[in-house]
C-alpha cells in the first residue's frame, strides 16, 4: 500500500455500496498493519431560529477575538476508534475555539444561527468537514482515513467548495483554511478519490462523468473505480458455455434461471467493457454476494474474495 494516499474519499451514486467499500478499504488497511479509520460525515440540523428572544445576545455583544482560555477540544479520537463521525456543528465549534471565539460558538449553537450561516454561505459546511479531515490527516494518529463521501453530484460540490470559498474570501482564517484543504486535495500522496459504481448503464455513466468532472474542477487524483456487485462467472473459463435449448419455450426452472443469469451477465460485461474503453485507470471488481443484514460478515466475505482476486491478478 506504499505510496497510497493517506486520505481516501469514497464516492459514487446512491445505493451502489459506498459504505461497504469504505469499510472494506478500512479492513484492507488494517490487514496491512495500518492504523485506519472510516470517516462518516454528518449534516447540520435545524435551520430555524426558535425564538426571537434568542437574538438578544448580551454576552456575545462584547466578544472580541481573544486567546481561547478553554482547553482545546480533544480533536482526534484515540487510535482504537475505527469509525469516526464528523459533525459539521462540532467542527464549527472546534474551528471557532481554535480561532478564539469560544463564547460565540456556544451561543451560535444554542440559537440555531449555525445552521443559517452554514446555509447562507454555500460550501462552509463542506469546508468545515474537510478542515476536520485535514486535521485528522495531519495528526499522527492514523495512517489511513477512508471517508464515506457524499453521493457523486454532491461530492463535486463537496470537493470544490474550498476553491469557491477561497475566491469569495479574500483574506482571513477562512481563506487560510481553504488553501490548506486545497493543498491536501491536490497532493497525490495525501489524498485520493475512489469512485464506486455497479455494472449498469446509468451508474457507469455517472462514474465516467465524475472522473471527467473531478479532473476538470478539482485537482484530486482518482485512484480507482470499484465496480460492486459483479456476477462472478460460474465456470472456471470465463465464458459461460452456451446451453443449447432446442425447445425454446422451456419452463424448467434450471433453464430459466440459467438464461436469466446469462442475460444479466451479458449486460454487465457490456457495461464493464464500456467502462474500460473510456477509463484507463485501475478498476477493481467486487463480486455480488448473497445479501445479508449483517454488514461485517459481508465485508469479511468480500475481503476473502478480494484477496483471491488480487492473488490472481498478481499471478497473471
Amino acid at each position: 500500500m506504499a505510496g497510497d494516499p493517506k486520505v481516501i474519499f469514497v464516492t459514487g451514486k446512491g445505493g451502489v455500496g459506498k459504505t461497504t467499500v469504505t469499510r472494506l478499504l478500512t479492513a484492507l488497511g488494517e490487514a496491512a498493519g495500518l492504523r485506519c479509520a472510516a470517516v462518516h460525515l454528518g449534516e447540520f440540523t435545524g435551520i430555524e431560529i426558535s425564538s426571537e428572544d434568542d437574538l438578544v445576545l448580551d454576552e456575545v455583544s462584547d466578544v472580541e477575538p481573544e486567546a481561547s482560555t478553554e482547553e482545546p477540544v480533544p480533536q482526534s479520537p484515540t487510535a482504537q476508534n475505527r469509525e469516526i463521525r464528523i459533525d459539521p456543528a462540532d467542527a464549527l465549534i472546534d474551528y471557532l475555539n481554535d480561532h478564539g471565539f469560544g463564547k460565540l460558538a456556544s451561543r451560535l449553537i444554542a440559537t440555531g444561527v449555525v445552521g443559517v450561516i452554514a446555509t447562507a454561505i454555500p460550501g462552509i459546511k463542506d469546508l468545515l468537514l474537510l478542515g476536520k479531515i485535514k486535521q485528522l490527516e495531519q495528526s499522527n494518529d492514523y495512517d489511513l482515513l477512508v471517508v464515506d463521501a457524499p453521493a457523486t453530484g454532491h461530492t463535486l460540490s463537496f470537493l470544490t467548495s474550498p476553491e469557491g470559498l477561497r475566491d469569495i474570501a479574500k483574506v482571513g482564517p477562512l481563506r487560510k483554511q481553504s488553501e490548506d484543504v486545497l493543498a491536501m486535495l491536490a497532493d497525490e500522496s495525501r489524498s485520493g478519490c475512489v469512485i464506486v459504481t455497479i455494472a449498469e448503464e446509468s451508474p457507469i455513466d455517472e462514474a465516467l462523468e465524475s472522473v471527467t468532472v473531478l479532473g476538470e474542477r478539482t485537482r484530486i487524483h482518482v485512484t480507482s473505480i470499484v465496480i460492486n456487485q459483479v456476477l462472478a462467472p460460474l465456470s472456471s473459463n470465463h465464458d459461460a458455455p452456451e446451453r443449447e435449448t432446442t425447445e425454446s419455450e422451456t419452463s424448467d426452472p434450471v433453464d430459466l434461471a440459467w438464461r436469466f443469469r446469462r442475460n444479466l451477465q451479458e449486460r454487465q460485461t457490456e457495461q464493464l467493457m464500456r467502462l474500460k474503453e473510456t477509463y484507463s485507470g485501475t478498476t477493481v471488481a467486487l463480486p455480488l454476494l448473497p445479501l445479508t443484514t449483517v454488514h461485517s460478515s459481508l465485508v469479511d466475505q468480500l475481503l476473502e474474495q478480494l484477496e483471491v482476486q488480487m492473488d490472481l491478478e498478481v499471478e497473471s
Partner: protein, 388 residues
C-alpha cells in the same frame, strides 16, 4: 399490528388505487429504478387513454432512447403518436431554469430579478442549497398540474440527500429565505426592536471576523435583494401543500430489496406517514425472479442434450438465485414489519434493458394491473433456511 388484512374479494391493484388521481408522486431512495417506474406507470396510464406527463430527474440515456429521444428537454415533449389511445409526454426538470423563472415571476421588477441573478451567492444557492431540488420539483408540479394538456402528472422525485424529504424541504427552504435573523438586519427596524437588531449586528460582526466580511456582506446583499420574493414562495408552498393533501394526489413508494434501500425507504414512508401523506403502495423493484418448480422438472437428471458438467453449473446457478431471492424476501419481511402496512408489488429484475416504448408500456401494465400483496411472507416460511 392491528390492521386487518383485506380479504381476497378486496384484491386491489395500483390501477384501482390510482384511479382518479391526477398527481402521482414516486418517492424512494436513489438507485432503485424510480425513474423507470415513473416512466412505466406514465406509459401504462397513457395506454389506457389518459393524457400523462412524466417529470423526471436525470434519466438514464437508455430510458430516454426507449422514449425515442437522446435526452429530455425542460419543456414537456410528446412521446406518443396517433396510434396511442392516450398521450404520453415527458420532461426533465432543470432546477436552475425553474428557480430563475420563479424569481422572475415573484420579483416586483425585472431589475430586482436581474440583481438577484447577478448575485454571487444566488448561483451557489440554486445548485447547492439542500431542499432546492425538492422545492423546484413541487414548483414544476404546480405549473404542470394546471396545464390543460395533461390529465395526470407523474413526478419522479430527486434522490433526497437523506436529511430532508420532499414534503418538508420546501418549508425549510422558505423558512431559510424568510429568516428572521437576516430580516432584522436587512429591513428597517422599528425603534422598540433596535436592541435586538443591534445584538444581531454585533453577532454578524463577530461572524465576519471569522469568515471574512465580504462573505457576510454578499450574503446580506442576497437576502436584501431577495426580500419580497420569499412571500410569493411561501404562498406557493402553501398551495402546493394543499394540492398534495388533496384526494387527487397519490404517493407511490419505490424501493429495492437491498438493506440500505429498505432502510432508507422505510424512513421516507415513516415520515410521510407522520405528515399524513400515506403512500398508496410500495413497489419493490430489482427482485431476483422466483424460479418455481414445475411438474415436468426432474431435479437430478440432466436432459440428454446437456453435458453433466454444465448441468451441475446450471443447478448451482439456480440454487444461488433462489438463495438470493430468499434473502431478499427475508430483508423485506424484516424491514417492512417496522413500518405502516402498505399494499406491496414485487417487480423482478429486468432480464434485458428496456429498448422501446412498447416494453415500457408492458412494464407499466404489469405495475398497474398486478394484484397487490399485503406484507405477508408466510408462504416463504416453509422453504429451507440458509446457513450463512
Amino acid at each position: 399490528m392491528t390492521e386487518q388484512l383485506p380479504s381476497s374479494s378486496e384484491d386491489t391493484s395500483l390501477e384501482k388505487l390510482l384511479h382518479q388521481r391526477s398527481t402521482i408522486i414516486c418517492i424512494g431512495p436513489g438507485g432503485v429504478g424510480k425513474t423507470t417506474s415513473s416512466a412505466a406507470l406514465g406509459a401504462g396510464l397513457a395506454k389506457m387513454g389518459r393524457s400523462v406527463c412524466v417529470v423526471t430527474f436525470d434519466p438514464a440515456r437508455r430510458l430516454a432512447s426507449a422514449l425515442g429521444r437522446t435526452s429530455l428537454p425542460h419543456e414537456p415533449t410528446l412521446i406518443t403518436d396517433e396510434s396511442f389511445s392516450g398521450s404520453l409526454w415527458a420532461c426533465m426538470l432543470d432546477a436552475t431554469v425553474t428557480f430563475d423563472a420563479m424569481v422572475l415571476n415573484y420579483a416586483e421588477t425585472e431589475e430586482q430579478a436581474e440583481r438577484i441573478f447577478a448575485n454571487r451567492i444566488y448561483r451557489n444557492l440554486v445548485t447547492n442549497l439542500s431542499g432546492t431540488q425538492e422545492y423546484m420539483a413541487l414548483e414544476r408540479l404546480w405549473e404542470l398540474h394546471s396545464d390543460p394538456r395533461f390529465d395526470i402528472i407523474v413526478i419522479d422525485t430527486p434522490p433526497s440527500a437523506g436529511a430532508l424529504d420532499l414534503i418538508n424541504a420546501p418549508r425549510h427552504l422558505v423558512s431559510f429565505l424568510d429568516n428572521r435573523l437576516f430580516k432584522l438586519i436587512v429591513k428597517p427596524v422599528p425603534l422598540y426592536l433596535r436592541p435586538v437588531s443591534l445584538a444581531a449586528r454585533t453577532l454578524l460582526k463577530s461572524i465576519s471576523k471569522v469568515v471574512g466580511s465580504e462573505v457576510v456582506s454578499d450574503a446580506l446583499d442576497f437576502f436584501h435583494e431577495f426580500s419580497g420574493i420569499e412571500e410569493g414562495m411561501k404562498a406557493r408552498a402553501q398551495q402546493v401543500e394543499e394540492l398534495l393533501q388533496s384526494a387527487s394526489t397519490g404517493f407511490v413508494a419505490v424501493t429495492s430489496p437491498r438493506v440500505s434501500a429498505l432502510r432508507e425507504s422505510q424512513e421516507i414512508i415513516r415520515r410521510l406517514h407522520g405528515s399524513q401523506y400515506d403512500p398508496l403502495g410500495l413497489i419493490v423493484n430489482r427482485m431476483t425472479p422466483e424460479f418455481p418448480l414445475t411438474l415436468e422438472h426432474v431435479p437430478n437428471e440432466p436432459p440428454t442434450s446437456v453435458e453433466p458438467a454444465l448441468w451441475s453449473l446450471m443447478q448451482e446457478n439456480l440454487h444461488l438465485l433462489r438463495q438470493l431471492r430468499e434473502i431478499e424476501i427475508r430483508n423485506l419481511a424484516t424491514y417492512l414489519a417496522q413500518g405502516p402496512s402498505l399494499p406491496l408489488l414485487l417487480i423482478d429484475t429486468l432480464a434485458t434493458d428496456l429498448t422501446s416504448l412498447d416494453e415500457l408500456v408492458k412494464l407499466g401494465e404489469t405495475m398497474l394491473f398486478s394484484t397487490l400483496d399485503r406484507a405477508n411472507f408466510a408462504s416463504d416460511e416453509d422453504s429451507s433456511t440458509i446457513e450463512s
